[in-house]
C-alpha cells in the first residue's frame, strides 16, 4: 500500500531530504511549510507555520502518518506560550481529529524536564502530550552531513574559522547521526507495522566528547587541526552575561551555550536494533562530507613537493604524488599544520627527526615527495661547482638544519 505522509517543516535542513526520501520510496507526501518546495509528482504543499491553523484541505486525502519536524528557533513569547508548544499542540489535535493513525514528533536527545535551555524544555513539553496510540517521539542526536544548513552549518563554520577554540563542557558527550541515517530512521518509524515503544532514540549509541567531535570536523571537513581550550562553566557563563550586558556588536547566545552544558546522553542501541538501522561509521562519513580525497591529496602534494623542492611543483610531479599515495599508501590525505599549508617551506620545521613510524605518515610521505622531486629534478651539477661553492653550500645547509632542529624536535613529535 502506498503510504501518505504529512511532513511539517519540509523545506528545512532535515525536512527537505526527508521529503525526497519519502518520495523516492514511492510514498505520497504532503508538505506543510513556509516555503514552497520544488514541484514533484506525488507531492502536495500547503503554506503553514507553527502560528497558523492547519489548512483543512490537508486532511481531505487521508494521511497515514504525520512527521512533525518543523521547529521555530526564535521566539519573543514567554516559554509557556512558545510557538512550538502551541503550534505542535494544534497540529496534534488536528491530526487526532482527522483520525491520522500515527504521529511522529522529531524531538531531541536533549529534551527533558528541567533542561538547561528552552529548546530542551519545550521539546520535552511537546513530547509529554504524545499520549495517544500511535503517537511517538523520536529523540534525535547531533545531526551532521548533507548541505551546510542549521546547526551543521554553524559547527562547520566554527571549526573552519578557528585554530584554537575556548570551550565549556569540552568533555560533554554528543551522539551524532548522519542526516541520511536520520531520514531513514524516521521513515522506518513511519513504516513500522507494530510499535513496541513510544520513544525511539535516533543517535549514535556511543557518545563522543564534544571537543573530540569538533576536532574530527576540523580534521575531516577542513583538513586541519583544532585545539580546544576547556573553560570552567560557571565563570564562563558569568563572563558571557557581563559581555552580553555591555553594548558590544556581538552577543553570545546563552540558549546555545546552556544547551551544550545541559546535554545528556541516552541509550539508543535497542531502538536502532528495533528499527534494524545501522548507523554509518562517523569518521568515514565525515571524510565523505569533506572535499574529495583526490582534492585533498592534491593540496598535500602541493605542500610536500614544495617543501622538499624549492619551487612550486609542476603538474607532472603533483600527479605522480597523488597516484603514488593511492597506490602505495592507504590513499587518505594527511592533516597538515595550517602554517605549513599556507607556507609550504615551513613544513620543514614540522618534519619528524626520527624515522617513519608507520607506512604513510608524514615522514614516509615526505620521503616519497623527495623521491619524486629527485626523479624529476634538474638540480644535479654534472659540470662541477668547484670547491668554494661546495663549501658554501655545506655551510648554508648546516646553518639551516641547525636552526630547524629545535623546531623539528618539538613540532615534529608524533601526535596521538
Amino acid at each position: 500500500m502506498t503510504r501518505h505522509v504529512l511532513i511539517t517543516g519540509g523545506s528545512g535542513y532535515i525536512g527537505e531530504p526527508l521529503v525526497a526520501k519519502a518520495l523516492a520510496k514511492g510514498w505520497r507526501v504532503t508538505v506543510l511549510s513556509r516555503q514552497r518546495p520544488p514541484k514533484r509528482p506525488r507531492l502536495r504543499w500547503f503554506p503553514w507555520s507553527l502560528t497558523k491553523v492547519v489548512p483543512q484541505e490537508a486532511w481531505l486525502d487521508p494521511v497515514d502518518v504525520v512527521l512533525h519536524v518543523a521547529h521555530q528557533w526564535e521566539s519573543t513569547r514567554p516559554e509557556h506560550e512558545d510557538e512550538n508548544l502551541l503550534g505542535s499542540h494544534a497540529l496534534l489535535m488536528a491530526a487526532r481529529a482527522a483520525g491520522v493513525p500515527r504521529f511522529v514528533l522529531a524531538s531531541s536527545v536533549s529534551a527533558r524536564e528541567g533542561a538547561l535551555n528552552r529548546y530542551g524544555r519545550v521539546k520535552w513539553a511537546i513530547g509529554r502530550e504524545m499520549t495517544g496510540a500511535g503517537e511517538i517521539v523520536a529523540r534525535i542526536g547531533m545531526v551532521y552531513g548533507g548541505p551546510h544548513r542549521g546547526q551543521w552549518k554553524t559547527l562547520c563554520a566554527l571549526t573552519a574559522s578557528f585554530a584554537l577554540l575556548p570551550m565549556i563542557c569540552a568533555g560533554t558527550g554528543v551522539q551524532p547521526i548522519h542526516l541520511d541515517d536520520l531520514c531513514e530512521g524516521l521513515l522506518r518509524i513511519c513504516a513500522l507495522s507494530t510499535l513496541d515503544r513510544r520513544c525511539y532514540g535516533l543517535a549514535d549509541p556511543t557518545p563522543i566528547a564534544f571537543a573530540t567531535w569538533l576536532r574530527l570536523l576540523a580534521r575531516h571537513i577542513h583538513g586541519k587541526n583544532l585545539y580546544i581550550v576547556p573553560l570552567p562553566l560557571q565563570p564562563a557563563v558569568m563572563a558571557m552575561r557581563v559581555a552580553n550586558a555591555l553594548p558590544l556588536p556581538v552577543t553570545v547566545s546563552e540558549e546555545r551555550v546552556m544547551g551544550l552544558a545541559g546535554l545528556t546522553t541516552i541509550d539508543t542501541a535497542a531502538d536502532l536494533a528495533a528499527l534494524e538501522l545501522t548507523l554509518r561509521r562517523i569518521e568515514p562519513a565525515l571524510m565523505a562530507e569533506g572535499p574529495s580525497q583526490r582534492h585533498r591529496l592534491l593540496a598535500e602534494a602541493h605542500c610536500l613537493l614544495h617543501a622538499v623542492g624549492s619551487t612550486a611543483p609542476p603538474p607532472s610531479r603533483l600527479a605522480a604524488y597523488v597516484r603514488g599515495i593511492e597506490r602505495h599508501s592507504d590513499g587518505t590525505a594527511l592533516v597538515l599544520p595550517s602554517l605549513a599549508r599556507r607556507c609550504p617551506s615551513l613544513l620543514r620545521a614540522f618534519e619528524p627527526v626520527g624515522p617513519s613510524r608507520r607506512p604513510g605518515d608524514l615522514k614516509a610521505r615526505l620521503h616519497m615527495a623527495a623521491t619524486i622531486a629527485d626523479a624529476d629534478g634538474t638540480a644535479y651539477a654534472y659540470e662541477g661547482d668547484g670547491l668554494a661553492a661546495t663549501l658554501w653550500r655545506l655551510f648554508r645547509t648546516a646553518c639551516v638544519e641547525a636552526t630547524l632542529m629545535p623546531f623539528r624536535l618539538i613540532l615534529g613529535r608524533e601526535r596521538p
Binding site: 610531479r317 614516509a364 616519497m368 654534472y382
Partner: protein, 530 residues
Amino acid sequence: MSHRPIVVVGSGPAGVSAAWPLVRAGLPVVMVDAGRDRFPVPPPERPAFSVLRRGAPGALGHLLGANLDGLRDMRGYSPKLRTSAPPDFINAYAAGNAIRTEGFSLVGTFAAGGLSNLWGAAASLFDRDDLGCGAIGFDELLFSARSVAKRIGLNGVDDDDMAKVHGLGLPLQPPPPLAPGAAALMRAYGSKPASDFILGRARSAVLCVDLGERQGCNCCGGCMWSCPRRSIYNSADELPALSAHSNFTLLAGVTVARVVRSRDGVAVLGHDAEGREIHIEADRVLLAAGAVATTRLALEASGRWNEVVPIRTAPALAFAAIMPRLLGSALPQRSFGLAQLAFRADLGGGSDNYAFGLLYAAESMAAPDLIAHMPLSRRGATDLLRTLLPGLIVGLIYLPGECSASTGRLIRNPDGTSRLEITGGFAESFHPTRRHAITAVAAALRRLGAWLLPGSAKAYTPGAEVHYGGSLPLGQATDTWGELQAVPGLHVVDGALLPRMPAKHHTFTVMALADRIGSHLAEPSGTPFT
C-alpha cells in the same frame, strides 16, 4: 632407462645452471616455475642516467616506472629492490611459498629468472675456506665455475689483489671504466698496500662485450633501474635458448606446493595460475626454488616437521664515505652503476673469518635511498647529498654467516599443508664483528683518502641482504650431489645446499654447484670431472 623427466623447480640462476648440462646431454627436463614473465626490460631508448637526472622528458616514468612502483617504501633494502621490482613481489612470494617470517625480511619473487631480475650481479667464487667442508673438492667446483662463467659472462681482472678472492682461472671480460672516486681509491691503494685490507676490482656477471643476444654495457649508469641491453645477467635470458632444445619443457605459472616420494621416484604436486592441479611423476627432482622455498619443500618431503634448521645469511651493513678531494668536481656523464670495487677485510681468527665488501659510486644510486636515514629535513638532506655527490662512495659490508642466527621450522597446518616459519636473528658475535668490521674498513679507507660519514653505517635487518642458504648443507643433509638421504631422487641444487655462508656473495658459487650436480646427473657412468 625411464622416459620420465627430470624436474627442475625454479628458473633462477641455480635452476638454469643445473638444467643446462642435463639438456645438453639430451635428457628430458621439465622446468617448473611459478613466474610467467620476467621483470620488464627497460626500453632501449632510455637515456643515460646523467641525462635523466638533468630533467630529460619522461624521467619520472623511466626512474619510477610507468606504474610508479619505484615509489614503494623500500627503505632498509638494497636500492635495486625499490627501483626495478613490480608491486607485491615480496608479499606474493612469501604467501605463495607458505613462508611466515618474524624479524626476517624475506625477499623473493615469482618471476621468470627469480632473484636474478634484481640482483647486484656480484660474482665471486668460494674458495676452500669459504666452502668449509670436505664434501666436494675445490677443483670440481672450479671446473663447473668455468663452465658457468663462460655461459653467463663475467667481467673483472685476474691480476689485482682481489682476483684471488674472487677466484682465479676463470674466463673474464674486461671490466667497465672506474668512476673517479673508485679510480682515486685504487691509485691510493697501489701506493699504500696493507696486509689486512685487500682492495681491487669488483667482479660482476655483467657483459662488457656482447654475448649472444645480450649486449655489452654502454655505461649508461642506470643499472639500478634494470638494464635495457640485458648486460646484467638474468637467468630468464637463458630460457629461450633452453627452450630451443626439444627435450626441454618450461611450465611457467606453476607453483609447486609439495614434493613427495612416490613408488619409484619423486612426484611434484602443485597448481597452475588458473588453480588447476598439477602432478608430475619424475625420476629425479632438482629443487632450485630459492634457498628458503627449497628448504620448506625439502623438509616436508623428508618429514622433518618441527625441526629447527639454520637459515644462514651474511649480515650486511651499508655505509657512506666521502673523498674530500673530489668535492666540487664534475660528475661523470657515463658510468657503471653496480659495484666498482670490492674489498676483503680480515677479522682475525682464521682465513674464513673476513668481511667482504663492495664499493659503489653514489651518483649511480637513487638519491632518496641514500638520504633515507639522515636526520636532516628531506630538503636539507637532498641538498647535502647533491653537494657531496662527486666525492661520495657508498659501500656494503657483508659479515660471515656465523654472525647470523636466523632459523626455520616446518609446521603442519590444521588442514595438513605445511608452512615454514622463519625467525630472524643475529648471533652474539654479530655486534662485536660488526664494530670490528666498521673500524677496520673505516681505517683502511681513511688511509686511502676516504672518510666514513659518521652515523652512516647501518645494518640491514636479517634477510634484507638477500643472501640465504645453509639450511640443508651439502655432505650433511644431502650427499655430495645434493641428494636428500631421506628422499632418493630429490636433490637440492640452490643456496640451501651451501655448507657455509661466508661474507662473499654466493650466487655464482651456487650456480657452479648446480652445474656440478647437473653435470653429474647427466653422466650415467659417473662423474664428468676427469
